[in-house]
Symmetry: C2
């Protein structure tokens, strides 16, 4: 029951919440022992803050929930491949697993030749089509 | 009067504030038209949050001060070369200039082959010895 697809759907739902806010729709959740301990969506426009990516907010919230800054035995599900900033934060957090939906060939950390923490398992492309369509449709509507 | 050394001394002073808090002593300020619009120091231990680097807090505060998320005509002075996370945030912010003190050969963004925004001027090594000694002394005291 608790598959990567199952949790990615919840990250996807987070992303849809900001469609009305004129934000690039990216959502994520952090799961610990099959329990969601943090949620986040992109709020850079609303908060006037480039650091307000979905992942950054969820990393902070997850650490508060756990009472420690290392996200051991945690999985972050995010609809878009993390950027350099978020990849750096995930590396500091030594998170156990990262699952992302759409690839970001221009801004994603992998395109910059970066790696996460050696302990971190990474899976990309879960619900890739749906996650990618969400963002493409957003930018299409902006033209 | 308003030299890079002048402002780096203020970033250095920010770093010294956390020496008592058992934090890695890193401090920074953001300057806009020779006026300090944001200050920050590392609070990752105190806040239990890997994202609470000096730069991240100062980027958020500077954007609030300016009323916009892009840090145009701003200079960030930081006592240590930014890490991957902070470099990613500085790139998103399109900050005009970054001045750092000590180099970080293991964790600094330059060692990962990253660059900031093409518009960003970078100067390293200002007050390098003093900034480096601050951190080395901290780690020495922890042994």
């Amino acid at each position: 029951m608790f598959t990567d697809e199952y949790f990615m759907k919840m990250a996807y739902q987070e992303a849809t919440y900001v469609l009305e806010k004129d934000e690039v729709p990216v959502g994520c959740i952090v799961v610990h022992q099959n329990r969601i301990i943090a949620r986040g969506y992109n709020l850079t426009e609303t908060l006037n803050d480039v650091t307000a990516h979905a992942e950054m907010q969820a990393i902070t919230a997850a650490a508060q929930s756990l009472g420690g800054k290392y996200l051991i035995d945690c999985t972050l599900y995010v609809t878009l491949e993390p950027c350099v900033m978020c990849a750096g934060a995930l590396a500091w957090a030594q998170i156990s697993k990262v699952v992302f939906g759409a690839r970001d060939v221009h801004r994603g950390y992998q395109s910059k030749g970066l790696a996460l923490h050696p302990k971190t398992e990474v899976i990309g492309g879960i619900m890739e089509e749906a996650c990618s369509a969400l963002i493409k449709d957003f930018f299409k509507s902006k033209r």
